[in-house]
């Protein structure tokens, strides 16, 4: 571990696990109701496009849901990011933006 990493970790405020859990639950509940995938059918790292869970309309619905629910802006770079292809990646995108906004420690 580099000196910079140690320093960064020491200075970073602890994350709020309850908020992260809430983000994860909201995204998974939305995916289950909107994309009709049951619990256990899709893992956190499943590629949602390759697994035929999300089509282009579904992606539009997903982006709209994330922006409205969490009050964040999904930018051009996010849309092309491989992170947006998995549930775990989407959660990281959302928590990262919440952290930037100061809504998540």
């Amino acid at each position: 571990m580099s000196a910079q990493t140690v320093l960064a970790e020491a200075m970073a405020p602890a994350e709020d696990p309850a908020v992260k859990e809430a983000v994860r639950d909201r995204i998974r509940d939305f995916a289950a109701a909107t994309f009709l995938v049951g619990a256990g059918e899709v893992g956190p790292d499943t590629d949602l496009f390759e697994a035929n869970v999300i089509d282009s309309f579904g992606f539009v619905e997903l982006v709209s849901f994330l922006e409205q629910t969490f009050g964040i802006a999904i930018e051009e770079d996010d849309l092309t990011s491989p992170e947006m292809a998995t549930l775990a990646g989407i959660e990281r995108v959302v928590t990262g933006k919440l952290r930037q906004q100061g809504a998540l420690r």
């Binding site: 009709l36 092309t80 491989p82």
Partner: protein
């Protein structure tokens, strides 16, 4: 002692969405979660905001290119109205492209030609290989992996495949001709509310497109690639904005048809119970209703009810009137479905 058990909700008391529609939840007083989330005032405010956004888009492209917009022109009432709206009210020079799927009513191409002549619009008819489209329709019925599971909420599998081919063709032509707008005549419920304006930059959604192409090529062979693939991203490629202006329109079916009559549009008499252009539509309705337990038009009819453009009686009548096996047997035979598929 326990009281009587509450009667399960059969359908939303406002929009008639049935409890059989997957993913739908109901409030204690019988509203579906979609109705509970959006009141009439919010829906109208959304339409107003959408129209303003579309007006700004049109203004940016009006007169800037040989064609400002390609209209995915099925010849049905909704895409006919979309074309009229863009040409007459928005002053956009449009190229209408009709995909002849092999099942268009004889009156449909007459309607396409009449409306385009009246509006002074160029019309191109693209007829994909009949052998391919019939195989595609058959595969749509026989396989459950061509479309994402949630697509069943919006349309039958047959319609979803056709729509995917048509939409891809419009994007292919828009990229080829460098036309900045592609307009569809889809209604609320057929596409998500946020699908009224979607910006496509070549390569941006490459992962989604690649997955789609792989599914169709896997099911139908390499020949499917020409119908579903898009050119890769290249430096300087323009963006294409896909719009569905009907999501901002609150007009009844009768009002739309009345507005089209002066252009020479006539209701075909051989398109079954629900379509105004396609003779295959009823097979999709028949199979979807039997397989999934709800009418594939349930979502769009629900949107019309929420928007006040259809009466509850007319909506219930549409949802309750289904084609019979005898009505659709010839369609099934033509796409090569075995008799027991019905």
């Amino acid at each position: 002692m326990t009281g009587p058990r509450p009667t399960p909700v059969q359908a939303c008391r406002r929009c008639l969405l049935p409890a059989t529609l997957p993913g739908l939840a109901f409030t204690a007083d019988g509203l579906c979660d979609l109705c509970a989330a959006t009141g009439e005032a919010e829906a109208e405010a959304e339409r107003v905001a959408l129209r303003a956004r579309l007006d700004a888009l049109y203004a940016a492209h009006r007169g800037t290119r040989p064609y400002a917009a390609i209209v995915a022109y099925s010849g049905g009432k909704d895409s006919s109205y979309t074309l009229k709206h863009l040409v007459e009210e928005q002053g956009l020079r449009c190229l209408a492209i009709t995909v002849d799927n092999g099942f268009l009513s004889a009156g449909t191409l007459d309607n396409c030609r009449a409306v385009c002549a009246a509006l002074d619009v160029d019309l191109v008819v693209f007829t994909p290989s009949r052998r391919f489209t019939e195989r595609m329709y058959r595969a749509s019925v026989e396989r459950d992996d061509l479309h994402a599971p949630a697509a069943v909420k919006r349309a039958s599998a047959i319609c979803s495949s056709c729509i995917t081919l048509i939409n891809t063709h419009m994007l292919q032509r828009a990229l080829e001709l460098r036309v900045p707008i592609v307009a569809g005549g889809y209604l609320g419920g057929q596409v998500p509310r946020d699908g009224a304006v979607m910006t496509l930059r070549p390569g941006r959604q490459a992962r989604i497109r690649t997955a789609l192409v792989n599914r169709f090529v896997g099911a139908l062979g390499e020949g499917a690639r020409r119908y579903f693939d898009l050119p890769g991203a290249a430096e300087g490629d323009p963006e294409v904005v896909v719009v569905n202006p009907m999501l901002g329109v609150a007009l009844s079916e009768e009002a739309i048809k009345a507005a089209l009559a002066p252009l020479g549009w006539r209701q075909p008499t051989d398109t079954g119970l629900t379509s105004t252009n396609c003779r295959l539509n009823d097979l999709g309705v028949y199979l979807h209703s039997r397989r999934h337990g709800f009418h594939p038009y349930a979502m769009e009819i629900a949107e019309q009810l929420r928007g006040g453009t259809i009466s509850r009686e007319a909506a219930a009548r549409k949802l309750g009137t289904l084609p019979g096996r005898g009505d659709v047997a010839w369609m099934a035979e033509r796409i090569g479905l075995p008799a027991d598929a019905l």
